[in-house]
């Protein structure tokens, strides 16, 4: 069975790009277009990992991370954002993110971060 990843980003382009990177590696991917959709999708699918953008309409990424972690303190979340300021990184880590990837990113950086959290796409 494939490991499952929820990709939360308001940009369809970015969701597609991440989905293409992950599917090739054997991961199953769910999508959310804002923080609220991410919170709802996490409850519905309990994915192994979330890739979370920060600047999103309806509900921002930091708030979504807090909601998800309140329901599941073990939730594995990697932030994937264009915001690279130290204050944002600290805020995200304090909210419960386990890694922080700044856009634009190399494909290898995403896979390195994902594999460090949940291993390769196919479960052993």
């Amino acid at each position: 069975m494939s490991k499952r990843i929820l990709v939360s980003d308001d940009a369809m382009f970015m969701r597609n790009m991440l989905k293409n990177i992950l599917i090739v590696e054997g991961y199953a991917v769910y999508e959310a277009a804002n923080g609220q959709e991410a919170v709802d999708a996490y409850k519905a699918y309990t994915p192994d990992l979330v890739l979370m953008d920060l600047t999103m309409p309806v509900m921002d990424g930091i708030t979504a991370i807090k909601h998800i972690r309140a329901g599941d303190p073990e939730a594995r979340i990697i932030v994937c954002s264009a915001l690279g300021q130290k204050t944002m990184v600290i805020e995200a880590i304090q909210a419960g993110a386990r890694d922080y990837i700044v856009k634009p990113f190399e494909k290898s950086r995403v896979l390195e971060g994902v594999k460090a959290q949940i291993g390769s796409g196919k479960a052993a």
């Binding site: 940009a11 369809m12 382009f13 600047t55 999103m56 915001l83 300021q85 130290k86 856009k103 634009p104």
Partner: protein, 160 residues
């Protein structure tokens, strides 16, 4: 408007464009925004909030937008659809977001709003009289302008 508020976004634009398009852009001569009308067919606006406030508008022709989106997506864009618009919006988001990193290096803490795409020529964009500098960015894929209208929060208070 202070040049030091614009430079972070020029640096960011160059880095993002090199990363996403694999092309080193050239910068044209800086201009001043005289009015709020844009002659571009595709415009992306991003708001900046915090210790610096204002806007960034990235404007280009539909042909340039198609070419840039095609390179980002990895296949030709025949119609400027929602995926192509999303690619251009994300490019602007990355330029804005990374610009904030450079602003933070000079002690200015800010945030950006999600990008908004505005399509249509001769669109009036009301920037609430914030003075703006226009930076032409020249790529082999085409040319676009980055209009940066930012003021430090303190300046705005004094002006009011």
């Amino acid at each position: 408007m202070k040049q030091e508020l614009v430079n972070p976004f020029i640096t960011s634009a160059f880095w993002v464009l090199e990363s996403m398009l694999g092309e080193t852009p050239k910068r044209g001569s800086l201009g001043v925004q005289a009015h709020g009308t844009t002659s571009h067919q595709v415009n992306v606006t991003i708001g900046v909030t915090g210790q610096v406030t204002g806007h960034i508008i990235i404007g280009m022709s539909l042909q340039t937008a198609d070419r840039i989106a095609s390179t980002m997506i990895g296949r030709p864009v025949k119609i400027f659809d929602s995926l192509a618009a999303s690619a251009i919006a994300e490019l602007a988001n990355m330029i804005g977001g990374n610009g904030l990193l450079h602003l933070s290096e000079i002690g200015l803490v800010c945030d950006v709003t999600p990008p908004t795409i505005i399509r249509g020529q001769d669109v009036e964009i009301d920037t609430l009289s914030v003075p703006a500098l226009v930076v032409p960015i020249i790529l082999e894929l085409g040319e676009f302008t980055m209009t940066v209208g930012l003021v430090q929060a303190q300046e705005r208070t004094q002006a009011a």
